[in-house]
């Protein structure tokens, strides 16, 4: 039997340090739901999702109760809808988003991801229709999340798609102006998008994935911070070791929950995403871990180095704790979802430029960034292009989830509520990038893509 101190350590992590399983995400292939008649395709989609995920929420809740560990979200990811819908000749795909929303509602999950298109090398007709449908789809549904992959290391950056996404984001914001541009919080533009990511808004079920799979994302910034409090002033070797040990313990929880959910649902276990996902709750912040390392405020000089160490140690510790690792795996830095980040922006310590540097050394990218409502579509496209370039050249995933909040200016704060938190409006560079974005075409794949 484990000793009393070990029992109490686990309980303290859960009760006081916000250790939780962020999400159990069921990936469902919809490749067999294509149909020339859109209505028939949507019926097949609805039936398949509600059949396979019928017990997902109940199983999640049972595990939560039995093991005493909170599982915050139960989610579904599906095959990119551009692939599923393009056999039908409908002009837009909003109705497909409505079907996903309805299915998610029926089975009781928090989110459903996969209103997506993969256009890193070019568009198919279905991709074009899907991308055009995104603003309306996200403003008329509640649980649907959307993502578009515009670049990969292997194929370079599709700058036509980058340009298009600037407009899509602006339009999505305009359609949800009364909610601060909320639709944009459900839309991610990716470079090197992973096919097995359990986290929203970027989750979709990749074409190389099996019929149905269970992926799990863990979370525990508070636990890491608390562990670091005990090694105040120690050198970086000690800091790294401490994070590794903590990440190992956190990830073991993810592995246990993933295996148990997979067994009870009769669905294969896919991956555990080794993540440090913050929430707006006090004590659940990645920024505060960086500050615990000795930075007065997140965003000051040294932040990138601190985050690089954190990200690497999380992966080293987590890898050993799980049999299959995947997804985004790394520390997340979503500004509006992290109390420490919000505070750092409000105090002027953290800027978009610094965040961009930080995305070179951690998972995802510019995440949940609120910018002034008058930011042009071209500037947003240019921000996406910069992030995509970082991802493509460094052979890693990067993403942009940016909200040009209508009518808001620097200094304002936009409330999204729940896990999405509240975002302070951040300054963007006022000089134009429009001639650059107007060029279009493809930025060729970098030479590091030639590995054969």
């Amino acid at each position: 039997m484990v000793g009393p101190f070990e029992v109490m350590e686990t309980i303290k992590m859960i009760e006081e340090e916000n250790l939780d399983i962020r999400t159990i995400t069921m990936g469902i292939s919809l490749r067999d739901c294509c149909h020339p008649d859109g209505k028939a395709a949507r019926q097949k989609i609805y039936d398949k999702i509600t059949r396979l995920a019928a017990n997902l929420v109940k199983v999640g809740e049972d595990i939560e109760k039995e093991y005493g560990i909170p599982i915050i979200n139960k989610r579904i990811s599906v095959t990119p809808i551009s692939i599923v819908a393009e056999s039908c000749d409908e002009k837009d795909y909003v109705k497909f988003a409505e079907t996903l929303d309805k299915a998610a509602e029926t089975v009781g999950v928090n989110f459903i991801g996969g209103f997506s298109a993969l256009v890193h090398k070019g568009f198919t007709e279905g991709d074009r229709k899907l991308i055009k449908s995104i603003p309306e789809a996200l403003s008329t549904t509640n649980k649907v999340c959307s993502s578009v992959n515009v670049a990969t290391t292997k194929s370079g950056i599709n700058m036509d798609a980058v340009r298009e996404m600037g407009h899509v984001i602006k339009e999505a914001a305009a359609l949800t102006a009364d909610k601060g541009g909320m639709a944009c919080a459900k839309l991610v533009v990716f470079a090197n998008a992973p096919e097995d990511n359990p986290f929203m808004a970027g989750a979709f079920h990749g074409v190389g994935e099996p019929e149905c799979v269970i992926n799990v994302g863990v979370s525990g910034p508070g636990v890491v911070r608390s562990a670091l409090e005990k090694v105040k002033g120690a050198d970086f070797g000690t800091v790294s070791e401490t994070i590794k040990k903590t990440a190992f313990k956190i990830t073991r929880m993810g592995q246990l929950v993933a295996q148990e959910a997979s067994k009870r649902l009769g669905v294969p276990f896919g991956i555990v995403d080794l993540s440090l996902a913050p929430t707006p709750a006090v004590g659940d912040s990645v920024a505060h871990i960086l500050e615990e390392m000795g930075l007065e405020k997140c965003g000051t000089h040294g932040t990138t180095a601190a985050l690089a160490l954190l990200n690497d140690a999380v992966k080293k510790g987590g890898t050993m704790a799980s049999s299959y690792v995947g997804g985004l795996s790394g520390a997340f830095i979503p500004v509006s979802e992290d109390a420490g980040m919000i505070d750092a922006v409000a105090k002027g310590a953290l800027t978009i430029d610094k965040l961009e540097a930080m995305t070179c050394v951690c998972s995802v990218g510019l995440d949940m960034i609120v910018v002034p409502g008058d930011t042009s579509a071209e500037t947003i496209s240019a921000i996406i292009a910069d992030e995509a370039a970082i991802g493509v050249v460094n052979n890693k995933t990067t993403a942009v989830r940016i909200i040009p909040a209508p009518g808001k200016a620097v200094g304002d704060v936009v409330e999204f509520g729940g896990l999405l938190g509240s975002g302070p409006v951040m300054r963007v560079n006022e000089y134009s990038s429009s001639e650059f974005i107007k060029r279009g075409g493809r930025i060729p794949a970098p030479v590091i893509s030639l590995r054969n």
Partner: protein
């Protein structure tokens, strides 16, 4: 299935009696008990075997939680594996 029951709170007469009476009524066998004072709090940890339990896991959880409220203690029941997987390889 085996579970760990944790009782945390201010020490008082009858804690073990109260918890073990409920367990006996439900046909849950106590395999191991340890108790200690941690950061000034009474902490009791029990390992129990639930393979012959007469009620549902969640029913037992409710019974123990209610007893905890009555006695001013926090009582938790968790599957043993959460601790094993975190602390044992």
């Amino acid at each position: 299935m085996r579970a760990v029951i944790t009782v945390i709170g201010k020490d008082r007469v009858g804690i073990i009696a109260a918890v073990s009476t409920i367990l006996a009524d439900c046909n849950v066998n106590i395999l191991d008990i340890s108790q200690t004072i941690m950061q000034g709090m009474f902490t009791m940890i029990m390992l129990v075997d639930m393979s012959c339990m007469k009620i549902d896991f969640s029913e037992l959880q409710d019974k123990l939680e209610n007893k905890g409220h009555e006695l001013g203690l926090s009582i938790m029941v968790q599957h043993e594996d959460i601790f094993n997987s975190m602390h044992r390889i």
